[in-house]
Amino acid sequence: MSLTTAHSVVAPSVNSKRIAGAIIIAYALISIVPLLWIFATSFKTPPDSIAYPPKILFQPSLEGYCNLFTTRTRQTPEYINSLGPATGFCDETTRKRNMVIAGPSNFLPRFVNSLIIAFGSTFCAVFLGTLSAYGFSRFKVPLADDLLFFILSTRFMPPIAVAIPIYLMYRELGLSDTALGMILLYTAVNVSLAVWLLKGFIDEIPREYEEAAMIDGYTRLQAFWRTVLPQATTGIAATAIFCLIFAWNEYAFAALLTSGTAQTAPPFIPTIIGEGGQDWPAVAAGTTIFLVPILVFTILLRKQLLRGITFGAVRK
């Protein structure tokens, strides 16, 4: 009973809470500034983006997004005047800068590559990961700990070190710069995460459910399909999102092993250039489009985040 009074003594005082809150809020706001700046820059015109002092208030414009999706060529005013009326907003802004739209840029195909490779590799990694995790969780596998460690150890290699032999292997197999090659590679990298995370999730599902199902006449496979999988949905979804984020964000392999047809967005975005250097509003626009899905996923995942980033080592 004295313990219950002691409890209130332990609780942080109102003042210390206020100070803690103020510091955390200040840190959160400062750390979010670079991201807000990306967002703001994507709506600036090129002259506004390089103004000094940096402009906090500005007339928003979609020019960055226009430039992201198009390539443009400089033309003489006479030529531009000889053209018919502008078709649409992007055409009009481009002409104001004495340029005409020459065609679509590579951003869209690169973005689509990112989608195909990220979703493809996530599907494969989660599929393989779920099967192995179930295997490791429920059966006595000889050398299970060694195998699990082997699966994890593939993560110790610096990506560049892995890329050297992969580059040679893919060249022999004709997988260089193909989506299939990247999907295979990302699956191999992600499957270690998937196995470790999913083993944790499946370990938490009581064996009794399957045993009951098997007593009811299900085979092991049916029991896995009908009782384990439905219960592991949250874990599988969280794992899938982690794999998706990794594949989506990956840069080193993509930069070294893809150059054209299978290039993903991360190595492409830094190469967006305008006249006289980097076209920052277009880069910011590409970055914004690229980051938004991850922001949504982070919010969806916030309860599982800890588990995901520590390979299931810390649960809560």
Partner: protein
């Protein structure tokens, strides 16, 4: 009806026979489930690793595939261990790993400790703080080049606003002494939340009654922090350091985009050297040997560290 009969039959059948009747044995199923993963890893990780080991003993160059490959024995390894540039790159890497981990642990732990005060709205602000670590280091790192621009960049402007140094003098990426810090700052900005999240789990795992007992014993707040909070959160802090250590040892994306190893070779970490040797000079054999050395180094250090971590956990 039919189901019932099947059930009764299944129940009446002796165990081993029942399994045969039901199809694949458990052992078979286990291997059926695990082998695809193992095969994939053998094909995409282990086979290339052995290939790299083989190449590391040769003078093979990927840009001249038709040249005769000579066996060099341990010559590549000897040359690497005697190469000043390689040692310089290792020092640069160690420098980065040390400073990023020190800053991230200090700031991350402090933030976690403050969040653990559970002020109103702490969940929302915690989520907000976590956002940078989920983003692509390459894509966001690339944008930091803009923030670091001496005149037009927001970072340089903010610093000059506070310090009154003219913004054209803040050459974060091209000044030899500032360039390493430009990378340390972005890495710390991005990954402090990671350490924070793990530390927070550590702090929340400390049972309340220990503090209550300390309170009964009239232990000062200071004393409680050093004798309870820190030692009990230590395994978590060490885990965060392990993960960050491995990741930062491999650091490539940010450095490649922010400075590309420059100016000169002031920010040339091991991964950048490896990339230059393997994909620019095309010294495939030589760089494979370096890759193997790096792998052994990370693997060895991580193993020693995990042993230390387990000791701390057992205490």
């Amino acid at each position: 009806m039919l189901n019932r009969t099947a059930e009764n039959v299944a129940r009446a059948t002796p165990e081993p026979l029942a399994r045969k009747v039901r199809g694949i044995s458990d052992k078979g199923l286990a291997w059926l489930f695990i082998s695809p993963t193992i095969l994939l890893l053998l094909a995409i990780n282990i086979f290339p690793l052995f290939w790299a080991i083989y190449l590391s003993f040769t003078n093979y160059r990927a840009n001249r595939p038709n040249e005769v490959v000579k066996n060099l024995g341990f010559a590549n390894y000897q040359r690497i261990l005697g190469d000043k540039d390689i040692w310089l790159a290792m020092q640069t890497t160690a420098h980065f790993v040390f400073w990023t981990i020190l800053l991230q642990t200090l700031i991350g732990f402090t933030l976690a400790w403050l969040i653990d005060r559970k002020f109103r709205g702490h969940a929302f602000w915690t989520t907000l703080i976590l956002v940078p670590m989920m983003l692509s280091p390459a894509v966001v790192g690339n944008f930091w080049r803009f923030l670091y621009e001496p005149q037009i960049g927001l970072f340089a402007y903010a610093i000059s606003f506070v310090t009154r140094i003219p913004p054209t003098d803040i050459q974060m990426l091209s000044n030899v002494s500032l360039a390493p810090w430009s990378i340390i700052i972005v890495d710390t900005w991005m990954w402090t939340p990671y350490v924070m999240l793990i530390c927070l789990a550590g702090l929340r795992s400390i049972p309340e009654y220990i503090y209550e007992a300390a309170e009964v014993d009239r232990a000062s707040n200071w004393r409680q922090f050093w004798s309870i909070t820190l030692p009990m959160a230590l395994p978590f802090i060490m885990l965060a350091v392990l993960f960050r250590g491995i990741e930062n040892f491999k650091m490539f994306d940010m450095v490649n985009l922010l400075t590309g190893g420059g100016p000169g070779s002031t920010t040339e970490v091991a991964s950048i050297t490896l990339k230059r040797q393997a994909f620019e000079s095309w010294r495939t054999g030589y760089s494979s040997a370096f890759a193997i050395i790096l792998f052994v180094a990370v693997f060895g250090l991580a193993n020693i560290y995990v042993k230390a971590l387990n000791k701390v956990k057992q205490r």
